[in-house]
Subunit: 430 residues, 2 copies
């Protein structure tokens, strides 16, 4: 059995080797920087990289005894999250040269666990729809998804073992699915958001990218300072319900096939599987999500809109203006519907461990003009429920298809433990 190249090493495996003295953080960092040198001209995952500072952190980590679960392990941060001394460009010319004076709360937590900041990853403009330059690591003619485009592509391509993104619609789960990696959008508010550029206070959620569920659990445990979220035993879910909503017709045939295959894999492994068709009361949630997001981003982005309107894309300017024109009554009605649906979902989830849903309509679409649709992500973001995507199979173009698993409110630890089991199941029967 040949040893995989160093840049493909998982985060926790690397941290263990560094703590054991069999790997130096500097060697890992050099391997990642070499991978970036080789691949970045095509993938374009990074918005800001300070190679010298990254190496300095690694050498410094090598001088200290391991102090946390991610000691000496580099992390990539979506470029809407403040990392002290680096710009927070937000995918916008307005912020291109704005150096963060201080770490975001989550960045400081990661350093406390020994992690290093490798650099900032490409985001769409303000984590909304206007795309950045990042391409799909497996086929540069395709989008890697977004808005956390660089984080997904960098982890998938072996440029960094871990990266952080945010999700307001489908910005963690969708790109992770497209790129064939593990994406975890925890419960709303689980990971601290201070120092993260805001789009929608009600929806914005910090999430993780990794190449294994175990690494996702170590990372979220570090970011939250919560030992109860560190990897636990793989647990078979007793029951999983395939959740279908009114947008179900948008699921593409390869994703339908992946879901059908997964349902029989699950049944074969002793999981009770059934189908849950969402009641019509959920039909308005797509529009409610849009109303809440636009109303809120119009206020959150008011400094840019007032001060530098000409440097905003037409896409985000349109959203801001739509949000400013939206009657407050429509916003309040959307918030009320969301709360109703949260209550209903609590009842629907009684007696089922997880819901299964597509992570995206299908494979990563061709072209870089759009990062794809958040159709099958918005509801879970809006309800604030923990969701995780696992790579399952590939589609007609040879690009990955991810399956999304959703747990009840604040059941993040249970979701991670079930996902560990599911990951092994899908790896055994690819």
């Amino acid at each position: 059995m040949s040893t995989p190249p160093l840049h493909q090493l998982g985060a926790r495996a690397a941290a263990k080797a560094i703590a054991a003295g069999t790997l130096r953080s500097q060697a890992l960092m050099e391997a990642l920087l070499a991978r970036i040198d080789a691949r970045e001209p095509v993938v374009r995952a990074w918005a800001h990289l300070d190679r010298e500072e990254a190496l300095r952190q690694a050498r410094e980590a090598d001088t200290r005894a391991a102090s946390g679960a991610l000691h000496g392990v580099p992390v990539g941060w979506k470029d809407i999250i403040d990392c002290a001394g680096l710009p927070t460009g937000c995918g916008s010319p307005i912020h291109r040269d704005r150096i963060a004076a201080q770490d975001a709360g989550a960045v400081a937590m990661s350093r406390h666990a020994g992690a290093l900041v490798l650099g900032k990853t490409v985001t769409t403009e303000f984590a909304a729809s206007h795309p950045g330059p990042t391409t799909h690591p497996m086929n540069p003619a395709h989008t890697p998804g977004g808005s956390s485009s660089g984080s997904a592509a960098a982890v998938a391509d072996g440029m960094v073992p871990l990266a952080i993104g945010t999700q307001t619609g489908g910005s963690v789960i969708r790109p992770a699915s497209f790129c064939g990696i593990v994406g975890f959008k925890p419960s709303h508010g689980l990971i601290n958001r201070f120092g993260v550029k805001q789009l929608s206070d009600t929806f914005d959620t910090v999430g993780t990218f990794s190449r294994s569920v175990e690494d996702a659990a170590w990372l979220v445990s570090a970011l939250t300072g919560r030992a109860d979220l560190a990897p636990a035993q793989a647990t078979r879910p007793a029951s999983i319900a395939l959740c279908r909503d009114s947008d179900w017709s948008e699921v593409e045939p390869p994703m339908l096939a992946a879901i059908e295959q997964a349902m029989s894999q699950l049944a074969g492994a002793g999981v009770q599987v059934r189908t849950l068709d969402l009641p019509p009361s959920f039909d308005g949630m797509g529009e409610a999500h849009k109303h809440i997001e636009y109303f809120e981003l119009a206020r959150a982005l008011q400094p840019e809109y007032r001060g530098a309107r000409e440097h905003l894309s037409a896409a985000i300017r349109g959203r801001i203006e739509t949000g400013l024109a939206l009657p407050p009554q429509a916003y309040e009605a959307a918030l009320a519907l969301r709360q109703d649906c949260q209550r209903q979902m609590t009842d629907l989830l009684a007696g089922v461990d997880l819901l299964l849903a597509p992570a995206a309509p299908g494979e990563a679409p061709q072209g870089l003009q759009s990062t794809g649709k958040a159709t099958f992500n918005r509801l879970w973001t809006a309800l604030g429920l923990p969701a995780l995507t696992l790579p399952h199979s590939t589609g007609a173009r040879g690009l990955p298809l991810g399956l999304q698993f959703i747990a009840g409110a604040r059941r993040d630890a249970a979701l991670l433990s079930h996902a560990t089991w599911l990951e092994a199941l899908f790896r055994r029967h690819p």
Copy 2:
């Protein structure tokens, strides 16, 4: 009838006079700066003032036609909220020299309505408990309350007609009550929080200080861009319930007397009044509030704790360390209790327009070592309900006593409209 001095003019009255051409914004600003010159050595309400920039904004406003409801009106901003070009000192030596590159979302919204930034008002350290230098405008031996100490004192003293604060425990309602002005803590999330230093994501709420309900409504309407929150007709509430919880014994005799007097004023004016004793299921909310706040601030303040621990007060360091040591299970249990109580409160509020509660245990305590207790504020912050305090009477030391009115979830417009009626009632029968 003599004309009151210019510095005592209300915000909306000033805006109307400026729009009508009978008052120049520059004259108003000069009157406020003169008041500050005279009183600031004792009151110490301001953390940062740029007189030249304030006058420049006023002169500039005078060259333009009135563009919004607060055209030409100066506002004070709590020094945890970013105002472009001014420091955001956060009441901490760590942030003393940190100049904000950009306005907070709420600041940008206020400028859109024509308001001017007068300066930054004193906050306790990170809007937590360690006090700043501000004194009570009516008696400098007493605290003005906190954490929004400077905002409350400046508005009460006529240094500025409007100011902004934040409330995580009782940091808007309590100082407003102590200083004898109107404090409004809207529904959680109503006013955008981007650019506001975070303590607890679950609780932090931006609120307002003014000398009338009408001015509060104009201000919150401007900050949210919502015409539906601008002053509406004064509406008599059909029913008000005095809400008593397990901390009721902490209400001091002068506040009890004020509440009793208000209950008979209300009954005399045709309002149905009754008493609501909170069920024992609410007894744990005080501790739950503390658990959530400490757990979250320990993560939000991790950058300061990691990078500059020696510049933190013992008080905030203790809270951070308590929050880091708190088991995640206790935090999750507190969040779950909060959600239960939110559901129960919805039922309890059925059939009643408003709840009445003390805004504080009594008058502003003597001494500047503490800003007083948030005992009667925490629950409403934790539940995210809109709360407003109105000056009612004075206590044994001649300092103000405020009464707090609370409405159901998202009923901010109704609360403002009822408060307009209540304010007139209490003014007629002082």
